[in-house]
C-alpha cells in the first residue's frame, strides 16, 4: 500500500497536467470551429 503515497500525488499532478493541456487547446482556438477541420483534412491536397 506504500505505493499509494507516490501514486496519489502523481494522479493530482496528472489532473493539473490535463487541465493545462485543455487550457492551451481552448486558448489556441481548437474549440472555435468544430466543423471545418473534418473537411480540411480531405481537401488539403496540394495541386502544385
Amino acid at each position: 500500500m506504500e505505493i499509494l503515497y507516490l501514486l496519489i500525488p502523481i494522479s493530482v499532478a496528472l489532473v493539473f497536467g490535463a487541465g493545462a493541456v485543455f487550457w492551451w487547446a481552448l486558448g489556441s482556438g481548437q474549440f472555435e470551429d468544430l466543423e471545418g477541420p473534418a473537411h480540411r483534412i480531405l481537401t488539403d491536397d496540394d495541386p502544385d
Binding site: M1, E35, H39
Partner: protein, 831 residues
C-alpha cells in the same frame, strides 16, 4: 465531385439556350451558364485551384457568382472604413475578421484559404466553417484590404467586414470561460470520485494515513472548482442578497460553501466526514446545464451580426457642382443631409432621403414587412436599408445616423425590451420558499444535536444541506427545458431565451403578423386566367421565356412554376424598367408586364370586367399583337401549414389574432381564409404595441409571431416572441423563439412541446419535494451517512434528468395530415 453534367459546370443551374461560356478546367472545356460563373471559374482555374471542383460536396450559390463583377473596392483601404473591423498590429501588420457569404461546403473554405494565402503580403488566412468567417492577417505595405476582398469576390463569394469588438467577441469569451469552468469541474469530479470510492468501499482496510492523503488530494483538486468553476454561483448569490432576494443560486452557493468548509475542517483536523465528491459533482452537473443554455443563445446572436449587410459601408456620392456627371465613393457614415447619392439597381439605399431623379421600385420588406416592391419616382421618400430593385436612382440625403428610420426602430425596440416582464423569476419563487424553510430547519436540527451530541452537530447541519442540496430542485427546471430545447431544435425551432418555453406553454393569445408569418412574404403565382388561343401551360411557358433573364420579383414567382414546362427561347429581349418585358419567340412578339404596358401591344385596353381592384394581388398581363393571352395573379401566398397551425392552436384553447401593417382588406382576407376571428390591419409599430399592451392589461399572456424589423418592438413587448426563419435577422436577434423551417405548422409542435416541458417540470419539482420531505428528516435525525447523502443527492438528480430526457423523443410533430395543408385553403380563398 459534385458534377453538373447538364447544367452550368460551376453552379449547376440550367444553361440558357444560346449561351456559350466555355472555360478550360483541367484540360477539358466546360460550359457555364453566364458570364459571372465563367469569370469565377476562370479565376479558380487561373489560380491552379481546380481541386475545388473535385472536392466540393455542395454547389455554390448562383446569385453571388452571377451578380455584377466586383466593383471598385478601393474605398475599403480608407482608414475610416477599416476602423470598425480592422485591428492594427506592430510593423504594419493588420488583422480583420470577414463575414463570408456563399460558403456552402468544406471545399469553399479550402478555396478561399488557398487563394488568399497566394496573395503577396497576406500572412495568414483561416476560414471558420461553422461561423462562415475568415480571419485574415496581412502586411499593409505589400497587400491592400481591397485586393483581398476583390480576390474573395472573384471566387464568387461576398465578404464584408465583421465588427468583432461589437459583442461577438464578448459572447465568445463568455462561452470559452464557461467551457473552461465546466472542464475544470468535470476533471476534478472524476478524480475526486476516484479517491472517494475506495474510502467508501474499503471500510477498515484503509490505513488512516492513506485516507488522510486521499482527503488532502481531494482538497487540492476541489479548490480550483470552488474558486473558479463555482465562482459564478457565489457572485450571483451575493448579487441576489444585496438586492434582498433569495435567488436560486443562494441555496446552491450555501450548500457548496458549507459542505466545502466542513470538508476542509474535517481534512485539517482529521475528524468527521469529507464531501468533496458531492461538491464537485454538484458543480459539474449545474455548469453542464448552463453551458448548453449559453450555446443556444450564442447561436441566436450570430444572426444579429448579419445586420451589418443592411447598412452599406460605402455610398456613391455625386460630386457637388458636377451635375450628375461625376461620382465619388465615400464611407456611408460620412454622408450628410443634402448630399446627392447615386443608388445602382440591386444596391442598398445608404441613408434616408428623397428621390430626385429616376424611376424604380424599392424592396422595403426589411423595414415595413410589406412584401411587394414599392414604386419610387422623383419626390418619393426612400428609407436607408431598403433595396433599390429596378433602375438607378438619385437620392438627396435627408437623415443620417441616429435620426434615421432604422436607428429609430432600434431605439423603440430597446425601450420595449427594457420594459419586458421578468417571467423567469417565477421559477425562482419555489426555490425562495424552499431555502427560506431549509435554512431554519437545518439550523434547528444542528441546535438540537448540540444538546444531544455536540460533536455531531456540524455534521448534521452539513448532512441536511448536502442531502437536500437543492440539486434536484435547481436541475428540475433547466434539465427539462434543455431537453425540450434540444428536441425542438432538431425539429427546426430554435429557443433563444430561458423563459420562452414556460411562457409559450402559458400563452393564452397567439398574435400573428400577417406578412411573412402566415404568408411566405414573397410574391408567388396564385392564379392564371388564359384569355386567348394558348392554354394555361403554354402561357406560363411563354411568360417564363420572357422573364428568364430578369431579376424582378415577378420573374422569381413565375420561373419556378414553369420549370417543368417545355422551354421556349426568347429573342430581342428588351426590359422596360417598372413596366415589363418585350421579346420575340419564333417570330411572334410578346409583352408581359403591367396591363397598361401589355395593352400598347394588344392594341386595346384590358376589358373592364377583367380589371379587378384587389389590393393584395398584383396582376400581370401577357399579350401579343393580336390581343391578350393571359392574366397572371401574383400575391403573397399562405405558408404551408398555416391553416393547420391555426386550428391546432384553437384546439389547444388559445385565442389566435392577426395584427398587420398591411391594408385592412388584405388582412381580413387572410384571416377569413384561415378561420381567424380577430384581425387588425393597417397597424403601425405603435399601434401594434398598443394592441398587445391592451391584451396584456386584460391579463393575457401573449405569444407574438413576427417577421420584419417593424415587428421588433412588438416582439419585445409580448411575453414570448417567435420569429420566422425566413424573416429578417434583426427580428431573430430579439425573438425568444426562431422557427428555422419554412413550415409554420411546426410551431404547433413547439407549443405542444412547451406544454410537455412544463408538465415534466412540475413532475420534477414534485419529485424533488417528495425526496426532500423524506431525506431531510432522516438527515436531521442523524441517520444519513456521507455515502447515503451523496448517493441520495445523485439519485434524486439522476431521476430528475432521466425524467427530463423523455422530452427528447417528443420532437415537434410538424407534419399535419396532407389534406390539411394550406394550399387548398388558399385556392378556396381566391375563388
Amino acid at each position: 465531385m459534385t458534377g453538373a453534367a447538364t447544367g452550368c459546370f460551376h453552379c449547376g443551374e440550367p444553361i440558357p439556350a444560346g449561351a456559350s461560356f466555355g472555360v478550360a478546367i483541367d484540360g477539358a472545356v466546360r460550359s457555364m451558364c453566364c458570364a459571372g460563373c465563367a469569370a469565377v471559374a476562370r479565376a479558380i482555374a487561373g489560380g491552379g485551384l481546380t481541386a475545388y471542383y473535385r472536392n466540393r460536396s455542395a454547389l455554390p450559390r448562383h446569385d453571388l457568382a452571377a451578380s455584377a463583377p466586383p466593383r471598385d473596392l478601393t474605398v475599403y483601404d480608407l482608414p475610416e472604413v477599416q476602423k470598425p473591423f480592422v485591428r492594427q498590429g506592430p510593423g504594419g501588420v493588420r488583422q480583420a475578421t470577414l463575414l463570408v457569404e456563399g460558403v456552402t461546403c468544406g471545399a469553399c473554405a479550402w478555396l478561399i484559404e488557398r487563394r488568399l494565402r497566394g496573395i503577396d503580403g497576406v500572412r495568414s488566412a483561416a476560414v471558420n466553417l461553422s461561423a462562415r468567417r475568415v480571419q485574415v492577417e496581412w502586411d499593409d505595405a505589400r497587400a491592400r484590404l481591397s485586393a483581398i476582398l476583390q480576390a474573395v469576390a472573384a471566387l464568387g463569394y461576398r465578404a464584408s467586414g465583421f465588427d468583432a469588438a461589437a459583442g461577438e467577441s464578448a459572447a465568445a469569451r463568455e462561452r470559452r470561460a464557461m467551457l473552461w469552468r465546466l472542464f475544470v469541474a468535470g476533471l476534478a469530479m472524476m478524480q475526486v470520485m476516484m479517491y472517494a470510492v475506495p474510502v467508501y468501499l474499503s471500510g477498515a482496510d484503509m490505513t488512516p494515513d492513506v485516507e488522510r492523503l486521499m482527503r488532502w488530494a481531494s482538497f487540492v483538486l476541489t479548490v480550483p472548482v470552488i474558486l473558479w468553476s463555482a465562482g459564478a454561483f457565489f457572485s450571483n448569490a451575493w448579487r441576489g442578497l444585496r438586492a434582498h432576494r433569495l435567488v436560486m443560486d443562494l441555496p446552491v452557493a450555501l450548500g457548496i460553501a458549507i459542505a466545502f468548509a466542513a470538508s476542509v475542517w474535517a481534512t485539517v483536523t482529521g475528524r468527521g466526514e469529507v464531501y468533496f465528491d458531492s461538491v464537485t459533482m454538484f458543480v459539474f452537473l449545474l455548469l453542464g446545464a448552463r453551458y448548453l443554455e449559453v450555446l443556444a443563445r450564442a447561436r441566436a446572436a450570430e444572426t444579429q451580426q448579419r445586420l451589418v449587410r443592411h447598412t452599406p459601408a460605402v455610398a456613391e456620392r455625386i460630386v457637388p457642382g458636377s451635375g450628375a456627371a461625376r461620382t465619388e465613393r465615400v464611407a456611408a457614415a460620412r454622408l450628410e443631409p443634402g448630399d446627392l447619392v447615386q443608388v445602382a439597381p440591386g444596391a442598398i439605399i445608404p441613408a434616408d432621403g428623397t428621390v430626385t431623379a429616376g424611376t424604380s421600385a424599392a424592396d422595403e420588406s426589411l423595414l415595413t414587412g410589406e412584401s411587394r416592391p414599392v414604386a419610387k419616382r422623383a419626390g418619393d421618400r426612400v428609407t436607408g436599408g431598403s433595396v433599390n430593385l429596378e433602375s438607378p436612382l438619385t437620392v438627396a440625403v435627408t437623415r443620417v445616423g441616429p435620426e434615421s428610420v432604422l436607428a429609430g426602430i432600434m431605439r423603440l425596440m430597446d425601450r420595449a425590451q427594457a420594459g419586458r416582464p421578468r417571467v423567469a423569476e417565477i421559477a425562482d419563487r419555489a426555490a425562495q420558499c424552499f431555502i427560506a424553510i431549509l435554512i431554519p430547519v437545518a439550523l434547528a436540527a444542528a441546535a438540537a444535536w448540540l444538546w444531544i451530541d455536540p460533536s455531531r452537530a456540524l455534521w448534521v447541519l452539513v448532512a441536511v444541506l448536502v442531502v437536500s442540496c437543492p440539486c434536484a430542485l435547481s436541475l428540475a427546471t433547466p434539465a427539462a427545458f434543455a431537453a425540450a430545447t434540444g428536441a425542438l431544435h432538431r425539429g427546426g425551432i430554435l429557443v433563444t431565451r430561458g423563459h420562452a418555453l414556460e411562457t409559450l406553454a402559458r400563452a393564452t393569445h397567439v398574435v400573428f403578423d400577417k406578412t411573412g408569418t402566415l404568408t411566405s412574404g414573397r410574391l408567388s403565382l396564385i392564379g392564371v386566367t388564359p384569355l386567348g388561343d394558348l392554354d394555361r401551360e403554354a402561357c406560363l411557358a411563354v411568360a417564363a421565356a420572357l422573364e428568364r433573364g430578369s431579376e424582378h420579383p415577378i420573374a422569381w414567382a413565375l420561373l419556378p412554376v414553369a420549370a417543368g414546362l417545355s422551354q421556349n427561347t426568347a429573342e430581342d429581349v428588351t426590359n422596360h424598367p417598372g413596366r415589363g418585358v418585350e421579346a420575340r419567340i419564333r417570330g411572334r412578339r410578346f409583352r408581359i408586364g403591367s396591363p397598361a404596358f401589355a395593352s400598347e401591344l394588344a392594341g386595346r385596353p384590358l376589358p373592364a370586367e377583367l380589371t379587378f381592384a384587389a389590393d393584395d394581388v398584383t396582376v400581370v398581363a401577357l399579350a401579343d399583337e393580336q390581343g391578350y393571352l393571359a392574366l397572371f395573379a401574383l400575391g403573397d401566398a399562405l405558408r404551408s401549414g398555416a391553416g393547420w397551425l391555426v386550428r391546432e392552436l384553437e384546439a389547444a384553447g388559445k385565442t389566435v389574432c392577426v395584427l398587420s401593417g398591411d391594408r385592412q382588406r388584405t388582412v381580413t382576407h387572410v384571416a377569413r381564409a384561415l378561420g381567424i376571428g380577430i384581425a387588425a390591419g393597417e397597424a403601425g409599430p405603435e399601434a401594434k404595441l398598443d394592441f398587445v399592451r391592451g391584451l396584456q392589461a386584460r391579463g393575457a399572456v401573449v405569444a407574438m409571431v413576427g417577421d420584419g424589423v417593424n415587428d421588433a418592438p412588438v416582439l419585445a413587448q409580448a411575453q414570448v416572441s417567435i420569429a420566422m426563419g425566413g424573416g429578417t435577422d434583426l427580428a431573430h436577434a430579439s425573438a425568444d423563439v426562431v422557427c428555422l423551417a419554412d413550415d409554420i405548422g411546426r410551431l404547433a409542435g413547439a407549443f405542444a412541446t412547451a406544454r410537455a416541458a412544463l408538465r415534466i417540470v412540475r413532475q420534477n419539482l414534485a419529485w424533488a419535494a417528495a425526496y426532500n420531505a423524506v431525506a431531510i428528516p432522516l438527515a436531521a435525525a442523524g441517520w444519513v451517512t456521507p455515502l447515503a447523502a451523496g448517493v441520495g443527492m445523485a439519485a434524486s438528480s439522476l431521476a430528475v434528468v432521466v425524467n427530463a430526457l423523455r422530452l427528447q423523443g417528443s420532437a415537434p410533430d410538424a407534419n399535419p395530415p396532407p389534406f390539411a395543408r394550406a394550399g387548398s385553403a388558399q385556392e378556396q380563398a381566391l375563388t
